[in-house]
């Protein structure tokens, strides 16, 4: 019974993976019927180029900011939603809604908001006598813009998962701590947070993986990739954008693959040991 599934996984997951590794050893232009075998030449070219530093740094900054931002803000939102005040159900739906929206649609709407000439944000800033930052022309600000939107879109996911974690905390233990005189902050820091360890661990893995594979928002909001050259976007630009370097792009994809595998192994082998399961 497993055979059909294995064949499908082999055909649509492992075969492209193997093909990609093979293509990464070629100097091949997309659309060309011929290619030259260059061995590890594409890897050497990438790691010896100025682009490597920029791409790896941008990838790291984007991942840390989006994972950190989504998780911290998600936890804060979950704490706010984990109260018995009216309207929390509506608020929960509102917080989660951006997560299920299309990345392309979200990107287009936020582009209009950020537009320094015609955008809503520029209009509001002008009302206060300030000029809009040059979001589209300044690479640093472009990255900030994309990170902001990515966090906005994804914090709902973290909030909902954290909310589920908060609601499954043992009520009797928390009550006992309160009776023993532990304040809210102390209970949160010494009890809730450690007990949320498995939730945090799960979110850490899933959000890092999705952050490193984030593409739609970045592609829509920064078509020139200025300031937003993450590994996956660089692979796209090199392979399907202006350069059409299919082999070189495949090498960058392999670098991303190795990075993802390494991070996952580290997380499972090391971070998992630090998590306290109830």
């Amino acid at each position: 019974m497993a055979l059909p599934n294995l064949v499908l996984i082999g055909a649509f997951t492992y075969r492209p993976l193997i093909m990609n590794i093979y293509y990464s050893t070629l100097n091949w232009t997309l659309g060309s019927a011929t290619a030259t075998v260059v061995g590890l030449g594409n890897y050497v070219r990438f790691f010896s180029s100025d682009a490597a530093g920029t791409v790896l740094t941008t990838t790291a900054v984007f991942a840390v900011a989006t994972v950190g931002g989504s998780m911290v803000l998600g936890l804060l939102v979950a704490l706010a939603l984990n109260t018995n005040v009216p309207g929390t159900n509506v608020a929960r739906a509102g917080v989660f809604a951006p997560y299920v929206l299309s990345g392309v649609g979200v990107g287009l709407v936020w582009l209009f908001i950020f537009d320094p000439v015609y955008g809503v944000l520029a209009y509001v800033l002008r009302r206060f006598g300030a000029e809009s930052p040059r979001w589209f022309n300044d690479p640093t600000l472009s990255l900030v813009m994309v990170i902001t939107v990515y966090v906005w879109k994804n914090l709902g996911y973290c909030a909902v998962v954290y909310l589920a974690g908060l609601q499954s905390l043992p009520a009797d233990v928390m009550e006992a701590a309160a009776l023993d005189g532990a304040g809210r902050l102390r209970r949160f820091g010494y009890m809730s947070l450690p007990l949320l360890g498995p939730t945090t661990f799960f979110l850490l893995i899933t959000t890092i993986l999705s952050s490193l594979q984030a593409f739609d928002l970045i592609r829509i909001m920064t078509p020139t990739s200025q300031g937003t050259r993450t590994l996956i976007y660089e692979a796209y630009v090199q392979g399907f954008g202006a350069y059409q370097r299919a082999g070189y792009s495949a090498a960058i994809s392999v670098v991303l693959f190795v990075l993802l595998i390494t991070l996952t192994i580290i997380q499972i082998a090391w971070v998992d040991r630090k998590v306290h399961y109830a």
Partner: protein, 455 residues
């Protein structure tokens, strides 16, 4: 009971299951090694020489991939309908293959691997040469000759833009040049003559007056964003100072005239503060009154005239201290035919391509979009009567120059030049350092991606 060993299927035990699975995955792994041909020399680019076109029957159906440059979907549809009235042997289907030249190119390149190729496709000025290098397109000489297309009637400069190794690889279609657009009311308020400046140096003396007289405008001039083909118009200033991005395959983007031009441009933004860099679309900024002038494509002409609530003036591109003539680049897109389709489809495609290039059809396309008529004999009088600005674009045509190889023939050259220019104009990058880096990048592209394929 024992069955016939020739027909009996053995039970699927664990060992056999693993063997089958392993074999399947192994076969997949081996098939993964299929892809581009990696042995032997690459084939020479194909020409249409050798096919006896008189013995070929046009295919009954073909597709035309376009991004509808200049919002031309309606006029393209009308031209296809007109084509269907002139003949019945071939039905043409218009396909929106992307929103930009880049998206069409991406789809076309991907189709080379995955099939479903178009039969006529829009090639932008910075893309067709890659198709030539990849051996993805056919030369059109024999087909055009067989169809008795009057190629001498094409505007010579536009036609020769697609010539390489003495062969013709596309024909002009949505061709443009940049124009200098200005707001006549702002010009009048500043007491300036109703004309475009003759040189950028002259405009630098006008700009403070424009700013002082028009406080509602953010800047006297808006430069294009990096995403909006700014490297195309940058060539104008560089040529005016006697420089070039490249001379044939030698990259000269760090030479003194280029440094001088970018210093002038950077100073206009940061030191003299009369110019700005558009966030997205300089023509939209201009139409909204945020800038007194900008340089944009003739393909934007109809759109700008519709969007602007003021009188729009257009003029030739300004020159520089070294040259005031032949400083305007050509641009836009042509039409070509893929190699990996049948001769029947190629012939049908060529017939349609020839129809689109008829003088009356190119005039209709120009009237609807603002692009230039690509045939000398096109009657544009009705267009000029309605849109006198269009005549400026056509008059400028005889003062144009083909673009530098660094921008149009190097894959990614356009993007790299645009980003370097953007770094200098929006990040105040040190000009000499940034241009040296650009030269290194462009040289690497030529050495790795172009030179090995040139024959």
């Amino acid at each position: 009971m024992k069955g016939n060993p020739l027909t009996m299927v053995p039970p699927l035990d664990r060992r056999r299951f693993l063997a089958i699975t392993g074999g399947g995955i192994g076969a997949l792994a081996l098939s993964a090694c299929a892809g581009p041909i990696t042995s032997g020399a690459a084939p020479s680019p194909t020409t249409s020489t050798g096919t006896d076109w008189s013995k070929v029957t046009p295919a009954p159906e073909i597709t035309f991939w376009s991004n509808h440059p200049g919002k031309s979907q309606d006029v393209e549809t009308a031209l296809i309908n007109a084509y269907h009235k002139t003949q019945t042997e071939t039905k043409v289907t218009l396909v929106t293959a992307g929103a930009s030249y880049e998206e069409v190119a991406q789809k076309f390149q991907t189709a080379q691997q995955g099939g479903q190729l178009p039969h006529v496709v829009v090639f932008s000025d910075v893309w067709w040469f890659r198709y030539f290098l990849n051996d993805s397109i056919i030369s059109l000489n024999d087909l055009l000759s067989h169809l008795k297309v009057d190629t001498a009637d094409y505007v010579e400069g536009l036609y020769k833009d697609y010539e390489f190794n003495t062969k013709q690889w596309a024909v002009p279609y949505a061709r443009s040049t940049p124009l200098f657009y200005y707001n006549k009311a702002m010009w009048a308020a500043a007491g300036l003559e109703d004309r475009a400046p003759k040189t950028w140096q002259e405009f630098a003396t006008w700009a403070p007056k424009l700013k002082a007289a028009n406080p509602s405008a953010q800047v006297a001039h808006m430069y294009s964003a990096a995403s909006d083909y700014d490297s195309w118009t940058l060539q104008n200033k560089i040529w005016g100072e006697g420089g070039a991005l490249s001379k044939d395959w030698t990259i000269t983007c760090d030479a003194e005239p280029v440094v001088k031009v970018l210093q002038f441009t950077q100073d206009s933004v940061y030191k003299h503060k009369w110019a700005g860099v558009s966030a997205k679309d300089a023509s939209a900024d201009f139409a909204a009154g945020a800038a007194a002038s900008f340089v944009g494509s003739t393909g934007s002409l109809v759109g700008v005239l519709k969007a602007a609530k003021f009188d729009v003036g257009v003029g030739f591109l300004p020159g520089g201290s070294q040259a005031t003539d032949m400083v305007c680049p050509t641009g836009g897109a042509g039409l070509g035919i893929p190699k990996a389709i049948t001769p029947e489809q190629q012939l049908a495609a060529a017939k349609f391509l020839a129809f689109l290039g008829l003088p009356e059809n190119t005039a209709a396309f120009a009237a609807a979009t603002g692009y230039m008529p690509v045939r000398k004999s096109s009657d544009m009088s009705a267009v000029y009567a309605k849109t006198p600005q269009a005549k400026i674009a056509v008059d400028q045509l005889s003062h144009t120059r083909s673009q530098d190889y660094a921008r149009v023939f190097l894959p990614g050259g356009d993007r790299e030049i645009g980003i370097a220019s953007s770094d200098i104009l929006t990040q105040q990058a040190k000009i000499t350092d940034r241009l040296a880096k650009l030269k290194s990048t462009l040289t690497d592209i030529y050495t790795t991606d172009v030179k090995p394929k040139l024959r």
